[in-house]
C-alpha cells in the first residue's frame, strides 16, 4: 500500500474500551483504505463503531491494536507535535456533538485552528468570517453558542473544520441537526470542495446523504460488513453511485427513529 494516491490505510484495527470488569469491543479488526479525493459514506446502526473509527482516522484517538497509516506514515510512530500539526493542517473534523467553546462568539470558534496554524490578527479574523459566510452564517459571527440554534451551531463547527483548508474532511453526522434545506446546502458545499480535491468521509444515517457518496462502507458490531468500493476492493457492481444492494439494505429506516436512538446513546 505505498501507492501515492492512498491517503489513509488501516490494517486490522481494533479498539477495546475497558469498562471496569467488562470489555466493550468497539472495533473488531477493521481493514480499510481510502484514496486521496474519495467521497465516502460510513453507515451502520447506532453503536456499530462508526464514531470510534472516525476518531482514530482523525488522530483524536488511538487503536488498541492494528496499524493506521496516514500518507504512508504510521500514526503510532508520530510524535505529539506531528499529530497536532496533522490534525491542524490536514484534517477537518466535524464532531457529532458540536464541541464549541462555551461563551465564545462564532468567529472566535472558527478562528481557533488558525491560531494553532500561526495565522493571527486581522488575517485570521477575515478568514474566519469568510468561512462563516460560506456556511451561511455571515450575520451570526458575533453570536455565542447559546444564542444559536442547533443547526447554526453545527454550521459553526463545520466552518471551524474547513477554515484551515484541510485535505481530509471527517464529518460525524454533519447533517443530523440540520433541517433539509440547510443540510442540503452544507452537503453542496462539501461536494463543491470535494470537486476541488477534498477527501470526504461522512458518517450518516440519512439514506439520501449516503446515496450521494461514491462509496459506502457499512459497519455492524465493530466490523465492516460491506464496502461498495475503494482501494483494493472492487466496486461490487450496483448503480451509478456504486452503492451495492446489501449496503442499501443495511441503511436504517425510518431515519427519524434511528436519530432518537442515537440521542439516547449520546445522553448516556
Amino acid at each position: 500500500m505505498t501507492d501515492s494516491s492512498v491517503l489513509i490505510d488501516m490494517q486490522n484495527l481494533t479498539k477495546v474500551y475497558q469498562m471496569g470488569e467488562t470489555k466493550v469491543v468497539a472495533l473488531d479488526g477493521v481493514s480499510l483504505s481510502i484514496d486521496e479525493g474519495e467521497y465516502v459514506a460510513i453507515v451502520g446502526t447506532s453503536g456499530s463503531g462508526k464514531s470510534t473509527l472516525m476518531n482514530i482516522v482523525g488522530l483524536l484517538d488511538r487503536p488498541t491494536d492494528g496499524v493506521y497509516q496516514i500518507r504512508g506514515q504510521s500514526a503510532g510512530e508520530l510524535t505529539g507535535r506531528q499529530l497536532a500539526d496533522l490534525r491542524n493542517r490536514e484534517i477537518g473534523f466535524v464532531f457529532q456533538q458540536f464541541n464549541l467553546l462555551a461563551r465564545a462568539p462564532a468567529w472566535r470558534q472558527v478562528e481557533l485552528p488558525l491560531f494553532y496554524a500561526n495565522v493571527a490578527g486581522s488575517a485570521a479574523r477575515e478568514r474566519a468570517l469568510e468561512t462563516l459566510a460560506q456556511v451561511g452564517l455571515a450575520d451570526r459571527a458575533d453570536h455565542k453558542p447559546e444564542e444559536l440554534s442547533g443547526g447554526q451551531q453545527q454550521r459553526v463547527a463545520i466552518a471551524r473544520a474547513l477554515v484551515n483548508r484541510p485535505s481530509l474532511l471527517l464529518a460525524d453526522e454533519p447533517t443530523g441537526a440540520l433541517d433539509t434545506r440547510t443540510g442540503e446546502e452544507v452537503l453542496a458545499l462539501f461536494e463543491k470542495l470535494h470537486e476541488e480535491g477534498l477527501t470526504l468521509v461522512i458518517i450518516t444515517h440519512d439514506q439520501e446523504v449516503a446515496e450521494r457518496a461514491r462509496r459506502v462502507i457499512t459497519m455492524r458490531d465493530g466490523v465492516v460488513i460491506s464496502d461498495s468500493g475503494g482501494a483494493g476492493t472492487a466496486a461490487a457492481g450496483g448503480g451509478s453511485n456504486g452503492l451495492s444492494e446489501p449496503a442499501l439494505a443495511s441503511l436504517p429506516r425510518p431515519v427519524a427513529i434511528v436519530q432518537v436512538e442515537e440521542k439516547v446513546y449520546e445522553a448516556g
Partner: protein, 412 residues
C-alpha cells in the same frame, strides 16, 4: 518564547468566563489584602514603639536601686542610691563620657488648686532633667539651676494636670498646693499625644530639694536623702557603654562592694530597652505572620476550589484545542498566561485595597498606629497568591494535555 501570542487567547478566555475569573481573583484579592494589612499593622505598631523610645534619646542611662535581687524581699531591703551618689557622678573627671546627671525622687500625690484637685506623679529633680529626657515645653519654661539651689516653690506640670485643675493649659503664674505648700506654675509640658509609653501628661516636676525636704517624707541612707532613680546622659550613642562602666565603677566603690558582691543598683540603657522591645515586636510579628499565612492559605484554598470546579470544563476545552491542532506547549502557555493575568490583576487589586485601608486608618483621628506595608510583605503576598493561581491554574492543563484529545473531550 512568544508569550505575548497567548495573551489575547488568555484574555478572551477570561472574558468568556467572568464568573470563574472573578472568583479566582477574589481568593487572591483576599489573600493579598489580608496579609498586607495584618503585617502592616504589626510593622506599624513596632515602628511606633521604637520611634517613641528613640525620640526620648538613645544616649540615656537609667540607674535604679536594685530591690529584692539579693534574696531579700523587695520591701525590707534598704535603698542605697542617694544624693551623694548623684554629686559624685556629676564629677566629669571620673566620668568623661557622662554629660549630665539628673536625680529623681517622686511619687503619686494630691495637687490642689482652688476647689479642684487631682493626683499627679510629682517628681523632684534638677534642671538637667529636661535635657536628659528631651522634654518639650509648651508654656513658660522648665526648672532653672537657681530654683534648684534656692529650693524655690515652683512647679512644671503636664497638660492633664493643668486641664484637671484649671480647665486650660495656659496656666503659667497660677498657684497650686501640694501637702499644704503653695507652688507657682512656671511651665507646662507639651502634650505627648501618646497616652501610654513615656507620657508626662499627668506629671509635675519640682526642685529635688523641695521634694526631699518639704513634700515627701524621704528616708536617708548614711546621712544622705535617697533617690528613686538617677538619669544620666552619655556624650554620644557610641559612648553609652563606656559611660555605663564609669558609673558602675563609681557606685560600686562608693557602696563599698567587694569583687564578689552583686551590685545594689542596676543600670539600663535606651539601647537595651530597644533590644527588649525589638524581641517583643519580633515575637508579635511572628504571631501576625502566622495569622497572615493562614489567610493566605484560605485565599489559596479558594483559588484551588474554583480551579478544581472548572477542571471538567477546562479538560473538555483542552481536548477541543488539541483536536484542532494545539501543541501541548500551546495549551500550557495559554493557561500559564491566563493564570498570570488573573493573579497579577487580583494581586494589584489586593494591594490597592490594603493601601486604601492604610490610608483610611491614618485618617482616623487618635488612632494609635499607622499601617505600614513593607516591600517584603508585598512580595510575599503576591508571590504566594500568584503561586496558588499558577499551580492550581496549570493543574487541569497539565492533566488534560496528557490525555488523547477524544478522552479529554469526553471528560465528565
Amino acid at each position: 518564547m512568544k508569550l505575548v501570542r497567548y495573551f489575547p487567547v488568555a484574555v478572551s478566555s477570561i472574558r468568556a468566563n467572568k464568573m470563574r475569573a472573578s472568583l479566582t481573583m477574589l481568593g487572591i484579592i483576599i489573600g493579598v489584602a489580608a496579609v498586607l494589612i495584618i503585617l502592616g499593622v504589626g510593622r506599624g505598631a513596632s515602628e511606633d514603639i521604637l520611634g517613641e523610645v528613640a525620640s526620648q534619646g538613645t544616649t540615656r542611662l537609667t540607674i535604679s536601686p536594685r530591690t529584692g535581687s539579693n534574696g531579700d524581699s523587695a520591701g525590707s531591703s534598704v535603698e542605697t542610691l542617694t544624693m551623694g551618689d548623684v554629686r559624685t557622678l556629676s564629677d566629669p573627671a571620673f566620668h568623661p563620657d557622662v554629660r549630665q546627671v539628673a536625680p529623681q525622687y517622686g511619687g503619686s500625690i494630691q495637687v490642689v488648686a482652688g476647689n479642684e484637685n487631682t493626683r499627679a506623679r510629682v517628681t523632684g529633680t534638677t534642671a538637667a532633667y529636661a535635657d536628659v529626657h528631651k522634654l518639650e515645653i509648651a508654656e513658660g519654661r522648665f526648672l532653672t539651676e537657681d530654683e534648684i539651689t534656692q529650693m524655690s516653690s515652683v512647679i512644671v506640670i503636664g497638660t492633664t494636670v493643668a486641664t484637671d485643675l484649671f480647665g486650660r493649659t495656659q496656666v503659667v503664674g497660677e498657684s497650686v498646693r501640694i501637702s499644704g505648700e503653695p507652688f507657682t506654675v512656671v511651665g507646662v509640658l507639651e502634650e505627648s499625644g501618646n497616652a501610654g509609653f513615656g507620657s508626662n501628661d499627668d506629671s509635675g516636676f519640682i526642685p529635688i530639694g523641695v521634694a526631699h525636704g518639704r513634700v515627701f517624707n524621704v528616708p536617708r541612707y548614711r546621712g544622705e536623702y535617697v533617690v528613686t532613680s538617677i538619669s544620666a546622659d552619655a556624650v554620644s550613642e557610641e559612648r553609652v557603654d563606656a559611660a555605663e562602666q564609669q558609673i558602675e565603677q563609681t557606685l560600686r566603690l562608693r557602696h563599698g562592694l567587694g569583687a564578689d558582691d552583686d551590685s545594689d543598683f542596676s543600670i539600663s540603657t535606651q539601647a537595651s530597652l530597644l533590644d527588649t522591645i525589638g524581641s517583643v515586636t519580633s515575637t508579635l510579628t511572628l504571631l501576625l505572620s502566622s495569622i497572615a499565612a493562614i489567610s493566605l492559605l484560605v485565599g489559596g484554598i479558594g483559588i484551588m476550589n474554583i480551579m478544581l470546579v472548572s477542571v471538567t470544563e477546562r479538560t473538555k476545552e483542552i481536548g477541543l484545542r488539541k483536536a484542532l491542532g494545539a501543541h501541548t506547549s500551546d495549551v500550557l502557555l495559554q493557561f500559564l498566561v491566563e493564570s498570570l493575568v488573573l493573579t497579577l490583576l487580583g494581586g494589584l487589586i489586593g494591594i490597592a485595597i490594603s493601601y486604601g485601608a492604610a490610608a483610611l486608618v491614618s485618617r482616623i483621628p487618635g488612632f494609635p498606629i499607622d499601617v505600614l506595608i513593607g516591600i517584603d510583605a508585598l512580595v510575599m503576598a503576591l508571590g504566594v497568591s500568584a503561586g496558588c493561581g499558577l499551580v492550581f491554574g496549570l493543574y487541569p492543563a497539565m492533566r488534560a494535555t496528557r490525555l488523547d484529545p477524544i478522552v479529554a473531550l469526553r471528560y465528565e
